[in-house]
Amino acid sequence: MTSSVSSATITLEVLRYRPGRDQAPAFQSFQVPYREDWVVLDALNYIKDQIDGSLSYRWSCRMGVCGSCGMMVNGTPRLSCAAFLKEYYPATVRVEPLEHFPIERDLVISLDDFMQKLPAVRPWIVRQDDRPLDAGEYRQTPAELDWYKQFSMCINCLLCYSACPVYELEPRFIGPAALALVARYNLDSRDQGREQRQEIAAGPDGVWDCTLVGECSTVCPKDVDPAGAIQRLKLSSALEWVKNVVLPWGRR
């Protein structure tokens, strides 16, 4: 459809930061062609190819799977490969690196904090018994799969951390995606690692920090509902506490 290629343009204001050169980040404006079927990531690629090759940002799959292209688009955390220009046109589009994370360069944020938290919640199937490989796989019914499936859809895009005011105030907070993974594995019928995860999940930086603002679930591109996962963890942890403290003779 060559007819859709018109001379219309759209303005992108991109937050730039070049360590060593810039004291602080500043916006830079770019005029890019406007196409109905372009997403913000296409516009950034156009800038990089045609206007300024030094612009830095992360992306890979261009189809909402890899989770690397998260950015603030007009103040909301979005996957830039899923944010269409036509949602904003003819207004200006402001692109910033994901909030609440340190800026490495331009739109690239530092992932260090999340990379530390992720393994701490043991996001894998933990077993007490080590079955030999030839004993076969751990089986699961569709209903058992259904029980945790929603929480397993996370692509680690970190949009939820950018939407979370608690994380901004308290960066030690384990945060939405990692806690959703706690729920994902705790609810898996094959897993036996709940006790181990509980140390982190119900610890001082765990679920109790959450005040259920709920924006993590609103911005999540995969409908993971981390806020719901955290509420369920709070409820089950609190009930477990009642069992252990109020009825110490109960379950031992």
């Binding site: 530390q116 938290k117 701490a120 005011p165 608690v166 105030l169 308290e170 030690r172 384990i174 509980q198 140390e199 982190i200 119900a202 610890g203 001082p204 930086d205 109790w208 920090d209 005040t211 709070k234 409820l235 942890s237 609190a238 506490w241 009642v242």
Partner: protein, 118 residues
């Protein structure tokens, strides 16, 4: 990242139960006792003798005790975090929880005292 467990489950449970109780009961209480009554729409309902009669039943006292105390604990928890988030302090910074939960505990004791006196 710190590990280990904390006293948070108690406060959260009181908050959660209090929030549920308040969600079910506070609107009707305010509408009837705070607006319809004082506006004079139901003159005989709030007469002194009738009120004393209502409250003489142990179940209504227990009910009022739970309503007052749990509503206060619900507030204490939410207010603690709102203070922390509004003022950008840590929610675990001790003076805030002590002031909030402490007020709720004082209110609970006052409620228990007056209900035993009635």
């Amino acid at each position: 990242m710190k590990t280990g467990r904390s006293s948070e489950p108690i406060w959260w449970l009181l908050f959660a139960v209090g929030g549920t109780v308040a969600a079910f009961l506070v609107p009707v209480h305010i509408a009837v006792g705070g607006i319809a009554g004082p506006a004079g729409w139901i003159p005989q309902a709030f007469a002194y003798d009738r009120m004393v009669g209502l409250i003489s039943h142990p179940l209504s006292r227990l009910y009022l005790f739970a309503l007052i105390s749990l509503s206060l604990f619900h507030w204490a928890h939410r207010f603690r975090y709102t203070l922390a988030e509004g003022l950008r302090l840590k929610a675990s910074w001790l003076p805030i929880p002590i002031a909030c939960y402490g007020s709720a505990i004082v209110g609970t004791i006052l409620a228990a005292a007056v209900l035993m006196r009635l």
